[in-house]
Symmetry: C2
Subunit: 569 residues, 2 copies
């Protein structure tokens, strides 16, 4: 951007590249909505006002203009598509900047995975700013594909789109002053450091904040949000596919608190992105919930910009980037035009900017399994087993103890009792490590489901009614280089290949959404009562969320953070 | 600060250095006022809550606690004392951080003057953060003691207390894209750049903001403030000794605008600092004017901290510096205790922290005048003269044309017509340059007043009823190495020496305030009707404020920005 030219356009001495006339501007800086023109030069706002020389003029006919939306925290991998396809979904929604944590691919592929996300988000009509994943792996009770220490993360610091440190989930490590965790905080001193501290309060919350953690996006009640605001954290209000917290959090939004609040999507499935939307959905949701539109926009524009020190965006004012959305209804904003750095990039819900290819050249195959050692049989050594109790629409599970169903000396799945077998197969190093257990609540009457999206280690997780179906589903996923599958007996009923790190497809997002729907329907036809069986599957192996989980290392008692035996005397 | 220890205190595993119990905290982050304890360790807030182990406890008996106050913009030189004496006045008022622009001493002594302000503010119980003066000299129509270009200012950047670039007063230079001005902006890219743009609006305001200027403190009406908020400037609401704008600006303070507003004092005389106060006065003023106390405190704590990116202060929250004030009345806060980095530095209005000496060792004598060329006689070459029309309580003047009083072929002062003679004597380089003119509105019936505080060049300005008194006053000031004086005939009636750059005294602030009062009274006894004759005197020579001013180069027509003749045909 050439400042003398921008100044000449601001003065009116040279014509603007583009003048939007007859706009109603949502000015998040002054808190007003008023009629004005907007002059753009060299990708930036040159000035406001109607009567200005311009090479091109668009009469907005009293439509509204707001700054481009900013997603304060999102894992792009959760959309099951690559950054270009993610951009194709969210940019037409008005999202022009996302702050992403490539935590999932980082756990699978380490630094090369993070660099892939940086490279594949180059040249998009979306600014993808990256926070370095702070917790790879999530704990010592799992086998992930990589381990990232402070010195590894530091190698990312010179990338121009590397912002800070992503959600520090190891809050016990922060609070306890773990040297490895503190080394990461030191490595990112002076940069934004985001947090993740579900339910933390009192002295522990104080310690977490005192360490310099700047935000949290795990609040589930307004009181929790208020306590975290008091402690100095910026609170990100989340509405993810699997964690729908916004409604419960809206009571925490007030004139006095709004400046310390941002909106974030965290994890959104492709279908939700296409049907509900991204941050635009949260803005509409907040307004419908009674939040003043200017405040709703602030939480999605100015506030995340200020939180991350992005003074070049987040508002429509002279000198800032011309990231803009145009819409007709202030009570339910839906982008009709989206400008990014002054260029029209989407119109009527469709991306009009060119996209680079979504290929994944150079990424290694990430699924390495010794199929000769895939053995799911469980010799019965006692009469009762620990069983994971799935809870609908929750990431937490119950820890149950139930009588085993024993046949020929083996503990087996028993669909008649809603007792399914579960396996977690280490898939990064072909170590042959395999955790086995039982789960209740998934509800399959026959067949099996399997997938390589399994937070945070992303090993291959299988749940099934019989060993043969489990083996078929697991092999289908392995042969696809990662993905999600439904199988019955020897037949693969449905398959979504996710060849990029076993997390993302190389196909268009509409196709991925359709296949994901087919998968879900196939699992439901086999009897599953879960709304999103594969979303649920991806959290059954996450050993940092209570109460009983299964990793490739075995059953984890999360409260005591240790491996426990399957059989109980 | 040792983080593991801070965390241990936050957890309650180790005792705090100090626990304030029974406090009512003004939490500027959450917008609430509530009862809590505050634990301090290593100069930082470790945590909140009453029940914590501590080596020392102070029961605040329900008194209020707020963050230490921040003055967003102040010229310390205007208090006529050195930084240590300034600290002795403002710290007991609750001010723990000031952002200062050493513009006055910079105009007199250049970089050595700025370094003197940095060095003499070392080790104070007050954080003196410095913005580099951007406009030395203020214009080409004056002779200042120094000229600072971008490359000069850059040499300051490695100082740990150098924040950014101070008020860019040359707004025509910014708007017009003057290469020297843009070079200064480039030199401070990524750092705060403060503005100064009285009355600027429309396209010119857009251009000024587009250049990256971040603030303005010259608003005089609420509408002007709103327009500047719209353009993206942070607005500093000012209440200086000579520019009392806060009352007029309060209507611009609302729930939607408050986050973009800060309070600043700009220039305060020693008497005002001692009697009214500093930023604490503005906080009380705002609350009395109907502003919610939390909002008033935000404008004096969190907002300036955010504006300048000072994430270590501005709020009472874990990890931030323990800069605190304790007071009893939320409607009229008056600091009873002041803590700075956890240490009690003032109590009941008195500084209890040690102060370094206020000496000015190493600074050169700044008043260099060739007294042999001090000639005030004006040969009359026409019948009418241009006359500066002083306006009470305003920095602007009128441009008058009046008949000269001619005696023996010379145009002379004529107190009977309120027509006084004025001289501006170049005092930096002993060049002998001298501007002569006439002024109406000062009202002296006899004698003369003189001073070396004269924005922005700080040449020696004299106004008098006769040449002999003028010479006596000027010589008294010159012999004192700078200062302010009142003389009648050959007698010096009152003198305030300001030997440090001709701007500051080396004496205690109480003594300076007393002498300044004596000076003012002496000027009034000679007939001056001005409320603050020496404050007024210091602006009669400021050629960047309309309409007619006198510099050492001659009479300046400010509207046309050129030198004009004294006599008019």
């Amino acid at each position: 951007m050439h400042l003398p030219h921008l100044l000449a356009v601001a003065r009116g001495d040279e014509p603007a590249d583009l003048l939007l006339t007859n706009a109603r501007l949502v000015n998040v800086l002054s808190g007003e909505v008023y009629k004005t023109g907007i002059a753009i030069a060299g990708g930036r706002i040159a000035g406001l006002g109607e009567d200005r020389p311009a090479r091109r003029t668009i009469d907005l006919d009293k439509r509204f203009v707001a700054p481009g939306l900013i997603d304060a925290h999102v894992h792009i991998e959760s959309s099951l598509v690559t950054p270009p396809e993610f951009a194709r979904a969210v940019v037409p929604r008005g999202v022009t900047t996302v702050v992403t944590d490539p935590h999932e691919i980082g756990n699978v592929l380490g630094l090369p995975g993070i660099r892939f996300m940086l490279e594949s988000s180059e040249g998009l009509p979306l600014d993808v700013l990256v926070n370095a994943p702070s917790c790879v792996p999530a704990s010592r009770l799992e086998t992930s594909g990589a381990r990232l220490e402070a010195e590894d993360l530091q190698t990312l610091l010179d990338h121009p789109r590397l912002l800070g440190l992503a959600e520090v989930m190891d809050y016990p490590g922060v609070i306890g002053g773990d040297p490895g965790v503190l080394a990461k905080l030191r490595a990112f001193a002076g940069r934004p450091v985001d947090g993740h501290c579900p339910g933390l309060q009192g002295r522990e919350l104080d310690a977490y904040a005192a360490a310099g953690i700047g935000s949290d996006h795990e609040c589930v009640t307004a009181d929790e949000a208020r306590a975290k605001l008091r402690a100095g954290l910026t609170v990100f209000l989340r509405e993810a596919s699997g964690a729908r917290n916004l409604l419960d959090l809206l009571p925490a939004v007030s004139a006095l608190t709004e400046r310390r609040l941002c909106l974030c999507t965290d994890d959104r499935l492709p279908e939700d992105l296409l049907e509900e939307g991204s941050i635009d959905h949260l803005v509409r949701f907040a307004i419908r919930g009674g939040v003043d539109p200017v405040t709703a926009f602030r939480m999605a524009t100015l506030n995340p910009a200020e939180h991350y020190g992005l003074s070049d965006r987040g508002a429509v004012a002279p000198g800032r980037r011309a990231d803009l959305i145009v819409f007709s209804n202030l009570s339910a904003p839906r982008a009709e035009m989206v400008f990014r750095a002054g260029e029209l990039v989407a119109e009527e819900g469709v991306l009009v900017a060119p996209l680079p290819a979504r290929g994944a050249a150079g990424l290694p195959r990430s699924v390495r399994i010794d199929t000769s050692r895939l053995e799911f049989a469980i010799p019965a050594t006692a009469g009762r087993v620990r069983v994971i109790g799935a809870v609908p629409d929750q990431l937490v599970t119950e820890s149950l103890v139930l009588p085993a169903t024993v046949r020929d000396g083996f503990a087996v799945a028993d669909p008649s009792r809603d007792l399914l077998k579960m396996a977690v197969i280490e898939r990064h190093h072909a170590s042959g490590d395999l955790g086995l257990g039982f789960i209740r609540g998934v509800g399959l009457e026959r067949g099996a489901i399997a997938g390589t999206v399994a937070h945070d280690h992303h090993n291959l997780v299988v749940v099934g009614a019989d060993d043969r179906s489990m083996r078929t589903a697991a092999l289908a996923v392995a042969e696809a280089g990662g993905g999600q599958a439904v199988a019955v007996g020897g037949e693969v009923v449905s398959l979504l290949p996710l060849p990029i790190a076993g997390l993302m497809s190389d196909r268009p997002i509409e196709e991925v959404a359709r296949r994901a729907r087919e998968l879900r329907d196939a699992a439901r036809q086999l009897g599953s009562r879960l709304r999103e069986p594969f979303m649920a599957l991806s959290f059954f192996a996450l050993e940092v969320i209570p109460a009983l989980k299964l990793t490739d290392q075995g059953l984890v008692d999360v409260e005591r953070m240790r491996i426990v035996g399957l059989f109980v005397d």
